[in-house]
């Protein structure tokens, strides 16, 4: 119990602090890539990813700092990619919106809404054929469920009985448009329940709760041989793209934010940790993470850009 909660906290803290560093340094104009921040949604990335085996696979959107960090735990290639450097995970070609880390199982992210959902189904089919026991979890927003490809994939994965976990990270907003203006139904869970898969829902910001729920979902997938769908609510703290708050823009309410902020996933987990750990034990973990992040940023800043001819590499294998 203690170990689990420490592990979860490590990941939560890593994501929060890495993004805090991005927010702090973004104005130096060295990270020339549009930032879609995970801040506020860490319990989901961490809870789900921690329930997965290292060899299990994940896919996500342009908003994938959280799953990258939760799944890989590494910050060197992460920051180098943000800085667009040759030492980045994709030598600077990907930037913030296209993070991958095949060795950690993050195999596809995309800046076109909904587009990794079917890719996850195909990956799950491959795993099933190869009988390697790997799971695939695909993260997407409540905007993605408007897109036809979500429904095509949900339907196909249910017919084909694919071992895939659909994770809908529902912040009830797509850019600036709330769910009620985009969804012609009361609740996505109620609709998806009618498909041949199992639905799990939560609005918890407690990574442990999400972790447990994910374990249940994964077990159900294995037992039933059918997909599972997790509908998980959270609140996006910052603007859609960029590193700032945007409550002054008038399209959404700060009050709702305050409600969610009161159960902030990082603070909440820290408070819980005090049941098992002393303050300075926690501080030690935090300091280690903070210094790792600062090191990575220094390295990224110092690293070279890819040479111009790198432009022409990797088009064809």
């Amino acid at each position: 119990m203690k170990d689990l909660n420490i592990e979860l906290y490590r990941k939560l803290y890593l994501i929060r602090k890495a993004e805090d560093a991005v927010r702090r340094d973004y104005f130096s104009d060295k990270m020339k890539t549009p930032m879609h921040m995970s801040t506020g949604g860490e319990a989901i990335c961490v809870g789900v990813c921690h329930a997965l085996a290292n060899t299990d696979q994940v896919m996500g959107t342009y908003r994938s700092h959280g799953i990258y960090l939760a799944k890989s735990g590494e910050t060197d290639q992460f920051f180098a990619e943000m800085y667009g450097k040759a030492t980045g995970m994709a030598k600077g070609k990907a930037g913030s919106m296209h993070l991958t880390s095949p060795k950690s199982g993050l195999i596809c992210t995309s800046a076109i809404v909904g587009t990794t959902i079917p890719v996850a189904a195909g990956a799950a089919y491959a795993n099933k054929m190869q009988k390697n026991g790997k799971m695939v979890a695909v993260f997407f927003g409540d905007g993605a469920i408007d897109e036809g490809v979500f429904w095509e994939t949900l339907n196909s994965a249910c017919v084909m009985k694919l071992p895939v976990l659909f994770v809908c990270e529902d912040n009830d907003i797509a850019v600036h448009i709330p769910g009620k203006d985009r969804h012609g139904y009361r609740s996505i869970s109620e609709v998806v329940e009618r498909f041949d898969c199992t639905v799990f829902t939560s609005d918890s910001t407690d990574a442990e709760v999400i972790h447990k729920l994910t374990q249940d979902a994964l077990k159900t997938i294995r037992d039933s041989g059918r997909p599972a769908f997790m509908h998980l609510k959270y609140f996006r703290y910052l603007e859609h793209v960029g590193v700032n708050e945007d409550f002054n823009q008038g399209y959404r309410d700060r009050i709702e934010y305050e409600k969610w902020r009161a159960k902030d996933p990082v603070d909440l987990q820290r408070a819980k940790l005090l049941r098992w750990c002393k303050e300075d034990e926690i501080r030690a973990i935090e300091t280690e993470i903070e210094s790792r992040i600062e090191q990575s940023i220094k390295k990224a800043d110092a690293a070279p850009f890819s040479a111009p001819n790198e432009l022409y590499e990797d088009v064809l294998a």
Partner: protein
């Protein structure tokens, strides 16, 4: 009365004026009515015309493209907006199989007056899913008109014409042009959707530009002028129907042609221009047609590579030099457009 306004405002004015004139005109698409208003190009519309005629939709490009077709068949004049032309890849089936063919397939009994505004999303670190152009694709398909205005005046006039046109028109806007300022008459109305335009007359060499590449061409011309080279810049404007005559007349005069297309080269629009020029100017051409475009790779994120990816004024200058047998000009003292150093029109 002529005023100086931005390309963004030109788009906004054209839309607002047409919505005032004709109650059948409406504008819609993902995020069209949010407070950012598609880079402010749909500013004030929801306030003036209400949420029935200016609205944001669910994220559903395929359905929303077909939606426009249905509204157009029934007498409305939809303007469907895509924040990035890349998203239109999801609407390609409706556009090509349905919208482009409906007039023909109904034996001419039904019309499809629809405008599809798509923004070329080029920008700082946008990567490979927010950087395509696709005009050669659209132009390849009979039944669609395709335009790419590059000045505020053309943006306004051609958008008005597109809205009034009884055919589907793909209207492609370059994100970087939004801040360009130019003369637009107070009473600017329709500007024909069919016809290239000589943006800058010259006698030594013809540079044919599409969209943003005209800005680069003009910059190149300004620098080359200082070195005694008089460049004629022809803005294609209409990709389909394609006005090759204006280009051919220019090349017949200058004997040299550089095509600077805001797109990839292979099987792109620059091939069509080159083929047309070769065919018509066979005798007058003093050098082969040069084709300048994106590097033949997906657009990378990191700025140094992104800068290599996109063609610019320097590429045009180097190409002109080689056609005319000039020695490379020292460009170290010159300013060029870059995102970091925001372009300040007019051009």
């Amino acid at each position: 009365m002529t005023r100086m306004i931005t390309y963004r405002d030109a788009i906004q004015e054209a839309t607002a004026e047409e919505m005032r004139r004709d109650s059948g005109v409406f504008t819609y698409g993902i995020d069209v009515a949010d407070h950012k208003r598609i880079f402010n190009s749909s500013k004030g519309l929801v306030e003036e015309f209400g949420p029935d005629r200016c609205f944001s939709t669910p994220l559903a490009e395929d359905a929303m493209t077909g939606f426009g077709l249905g509204a157009a068949i029934n007498g409305m004049r939809p303007i469907h907006v895509h924040m990035r032309v890349d998203f239109l890849l999801l609407g390609m089936n409706q556009l090509v199989n349905m919208i482009a063919t409906h007039h023909y397939g109904s034996g001419g009994t039904m019309k499809v007056p629809m405008v599809i505004r798509a923004i070329i999303g080029r920008g700082w670190g946008q990567s490979y899913q927010h950087s395509k152009a696709l005009h050669s694709w659209f132009a390849h398909v009979p039944g669609l008109k395709v335009v790419m205005p590059s000045t505020p005046r053309d943006a306004k006039g051609m958008l008005i014409a597109a809205i009034r046109d009884d055919n589907p028109v793909v209207f492609i806007e370059h994100r970087w042009l939004y801040d360009a300022v130019g003369e637009v008459p107070e009473d600017c109305t329709s500007i024909s959707l069919e016809g290239a335009r000589v943006l800058r007359p010259g006698k030594d060499i013809t540079v044919v530009g599409t969209s943003w590449m005209n800005v680069e061409a003009i910059r190149a011309a300004q620098i080359l002028e200082k070195h005694g080279v008089d460049v004629e810049v022809v803005d294609v404007r209409s990709i389909a129907p394609f006005d090759s005559k204006t280009i051919i007349d220019s090349v017949k005069k200058t004997g040299h042609c550089v095509v600077a297309d805001n797109d990839w080269v292979h099987c792109g629009f620059s091939a069509e221009v080159a083929a047309a020029v070769y065919e018509a100017c066979y005798k007058q051409l003093k050098s082969p047609v040069a084709r300048i475009g994106y590097a033949p790779v997906p657009c990378p994120c990191t700025r140094p590579l992104e800068d290599e990816f996109y063609p610019n004024a320097i590429d045009i200058i180097r190409s002109v030099e080689s056609k005319l047998g000039l020695k490379p000009i020292d460009l170290s003292g010159e300013d060029f457009y870059s995102y970091e150093n925001k372009f300040k029109g007019p051009f």
